[in-house]
């Protein structure tokens, strides 16, 4: 865009393919139909047709984490429409990150939260999947909330981390610090 002499603000963020600010629709001269992509990750070729797509306007539910171990109802409480997915596949076709969005939504419907969480690791929250869903599922928001549920409620605790926090809290390193800081200052 800049090379065409046009300044722009909306639709630019990281320029590194991770912030999701720059979704476009692009068709190369030899292609029948346009594809979606991230503009900052796309090499424009002579004769390509291109349009910037709008940013994410889907509603963000105020969805705090629960106090107890979650199940799929925790998710449906905030995103009930997830269950309405008709498996049309539109979200998968549009995702510029190549995520099988529909499969992830189906897994969420069936309570396979860990699988859903894994699939959304590459999601840049561009919101296109939600924009094209006829039944108003918001796959990326479902994905993020599921990831947070899984992240906060891991089955196995990180015991080493717990232990280190206790050690520091109990002053285990006090003397070593005293010696080190003394030395460091002089």
């Amino acid at each position: 865009m800049w090379h065409l002499g046009r300044p722009m603000l909306h639709g630019v963020g990281c320029l590194g393919g991770v912030c999701g600010a720059c979704p476009i629709s692009i068709r190369l001269p030899n292609q029948m139909a346009p594809k979606t992509a991230l503009a900052c990750q796309t090499l424009v070729a002579e004769g390509a047709e291109m349009a910037f797509l709008p940013g994410d306007a889907s509603k963000k539910e105020i969805a705090p984490l629960p106090a107890e171990t979650p199940n799929q109802n925790t998710l449906f409480q905030y995103y009930p429409e997830t269950r309405r997915c008709v498996a049309c596949g539109a979200c998968t076709s549009i995702c510029p990150q190549g995520i099988d969005v529909m499969a992830s939504v189906r897994e969420a419907m069936n309570g396979k939260l860990a699988e859903t969480a894994d699939r959304f690791v590459d999601c840049v929250m561009c919101g296109l999947c939600a924009a094209v869903c006829d039944v108003k599922v918001r796959p990326h928001r479902v994905g993020l909330y599921t990831r947070r549920l899984i992240g906060a409620f891991q089955e196995n605790e990180a015991t080493q981390l717990k232990k280190r926090i206790e050690e520091i809290g109990s002053g285990h390193y006090k003397e070593q610090w005293a010696a080190l800081m003394e030395e460091a200052v002089h």
Partner: protein, 528 residues
């Protein structure tokens, strides 16, 4: 075959033989010598002496000096300063440090407003790949983390800030986990740790090669859940003071409507991030679009001191080919996983896990001395041999651990599982910044600073993974300290007195450039 292909073939054929090769580490003297000779921080012509202001007489690069000594976009006859917002805390910048400060301040009950230049989350934070350092393993300790960082920083780190950083690491990691950040785990539930350059033990927590994206996605979600008031596309262009050394608010520029918005705040937290888009010394950069060092110029004008403003980190491995990827990072974690660096002859030339300044210097040396590879666009670079990672760690390692990297190159039909790619140092990080005390307060009262905009913690060279830790630890500290201060204070008077003082000093120093700062955005529009 072209020269590039010949050289690439050498890399491919020597892979098996090299995989067992041990590369000697540099002694402290060798490293010093290498860095002094080739590191951009030691290039005298690139530096200017600041002619006035809090750091008068000290050095920094021309690109930054111009902005620090630049004129304010706010005219002397700016209309009456009537606040459109009155808050306990104004948070400037919507990256990791700003979001963390916001969550902390909100939890402490403060009334806050966040103003950010692009969208919430568009930042350097979202781009971080490699990980966050926390001393977790039984063999490790905060002491070791401290010593590694001090050595990495050439002993120039602020000891008190560094101690807090490493000591609070484990508890902020727990805080992030409780917010739902999915760090990679071992089968037994413990955090999976990786090695990083300059660290004596594996200490990096990460989420594949999307660590920053994972952090930012979660932090942003929390900020939205907390219903923090956020003004996007509203960068700060000037701070306000009471004329007696305290910060009392700021002026924002509403980019979409070209309006000015005056904010009155009991305290201000500045978290505007780095400087990559200044393209210091002509280097490409790994940074996001808004990394233009705005925080530095506005605080300097308001009278706060900078520290270590002369030192920058050039990440040794930024892509140089294809041209469209120039500057984009090839994460250090790839070298931690065993990838080699090779010159045009297909030979290794440095131990790949030396600190970043040393590795970057070595790459520059190879290219200056004719052992680099020239790209069609005229850039120079050396090879990074990523297929070796799969060979050492088993087929599929790259795919499992570096999906982002594979995706980025595959868009240009380059398969990093099969072939090496060309890299050269890229401007990555501002080691120094605004001087802060243990609570994150600058030398201007009531102005707190967190994250990459601040300076001192990392000395003259930041270790990989210490920045993500920094933004969380100091985002929290600044958030807590500013809330406490705000609870005990009243609003101060709004004035631009510091600007009159600045303008006077500027003309006395004979500076009359027409540069206006903050820069806000780099100007890439092709001049017709």
């Amino acid at each position: 075959m072209s020269d590039i292909d010949v050289s690439k073939e050498r890399v491919n054929t020597s892979r098996a033989a090299r995989s067992q090769q041990e590369m000697p580490r540099l002694s402290a003297e060798e490293k010093d010598d290498l860095v002094h000779r080739y590191h951009p921080d030691y290039k005298k012509e690139a530096y200017a002496t600041l002619r006035f202001g809090p750091n008068k007489g000290e050095q920094t690069v021309h690109e930054l000096a111009r902005l620090l000594e630049g004129e304010s976009p706010v005219p002397a006859d700016f209309p009456a300063l009537k606040p459109a917002h009155q808050v306990d805390i104004l948070i400037i910048g919507g990256g990791g440090a700003g979001a963390t400060a916001a969550l902390t301040a909100k939890a402490a009950g403060a009334k806050i407003l966040m103003a950010t230049k692009l969208r919430l989350g568009d930042s350097n934070t979202v781009m971080a790949e490699g990980g966050m350092q926390v001393a977790v393993s039984p063999e490790d300790s905060p002491i070791r983390h401290f010593v590694d960082s001090l050595k990495g920083g050439h002993m120039a780190n602020d000891r008190v800030l560094l101690k807090q950083l490493v000591e609070e690491g484990p508890s902020v990691a727990q805080w992030l986990i409780d917010l739902g950040v999915m760090f990679d785990r071992e089968d037994d539930g413990n955090l999976s740790l990786r090695a990083g350059g300059g660290s004596s033990l594996p200490r990096l927590l990460r989420c594949k090669d999307y660590t920053g994206l994972e952090l930012m996605r979660v932090l942003k979600d929390c900020v939205l859940n907390e219903e923090v008031e956020v003004l996007e596309f509203s960068p700060v262009i000037e701070l306000l003071t009471d004329g007696k050394g305290s910060c009392t608010g700021a002026i924002l520029k509403d980019l979409d409507n070209d309006r000015r918005i005056v904010v009155q705040a009991k305290t201000v937290i500045l978290a505007t991030g780095g400087i990559g888009r200044l393209h210091i010394q002509g280097f490409p950069t790994s940074n996001h679009f808004g990394a233009t060092g705005d925080g530095l110029s506005i605080t300097y004008r308001a009278g706060a001191s900078l520290t270590l403003q002369d030192t920058f980190q050039y990440h040794p491995t930024g892509a140089v080919f294809p041209e469209a990827m120039a500057g984009l990072l090839v994460t250090e974690a790839i070298r931690s996983a065993g990838a080699h660096l090779l010159n045009a002859k297909g030979e290794r030339f440095v131990y790949e896990l030396e600190t970043r300044d040393a590795v970057a210097s070595a790459v520059i040396r190879e290219c200056l001395e004719g052992r680099g590879i020239q790209t069609p666009a005229g850039r120079y670079g050396v090879w990074i041999d990523m297929p070796l990672v799969d060979q050492i760690n088993g087929e599929g390692t790259l795919e499992k651990r570096f999906p982002n990297m594979i995706r980025q190159f595959s868009r240009y039909d380059i398969d990093i599982r099969k072939e090496p790619v060309l890299v050269y140092p890229t401007l990555h990080y501002q080691n120094g910044g605004i001087q802060i005390d243990a609570e994150g307060e600058s030398t201007l009262k009531n102005l707190f600073v967190a994250g990459e905009a601040s300076g001192g913690i990392h000395g003259r060279n930041r270790l990989m993974g210490n920045s993500l830790l920094d933004i969380i630890v100091y985002g929290k500290r600044a958030g807590a300290a500013a809330s406490k201060r705000a609870a005990a204070s009243d609003f101060g008077p709004l004035s631009l007195d510091h600007l009159s003082r600045f303008r006077k000093e500027r003309s006395e120093a004979g500076v009359n450039s027409d540069v206006v700062s903050p820069m806000l955005f780099p100007d890439y529009v092709k001049k017709q």
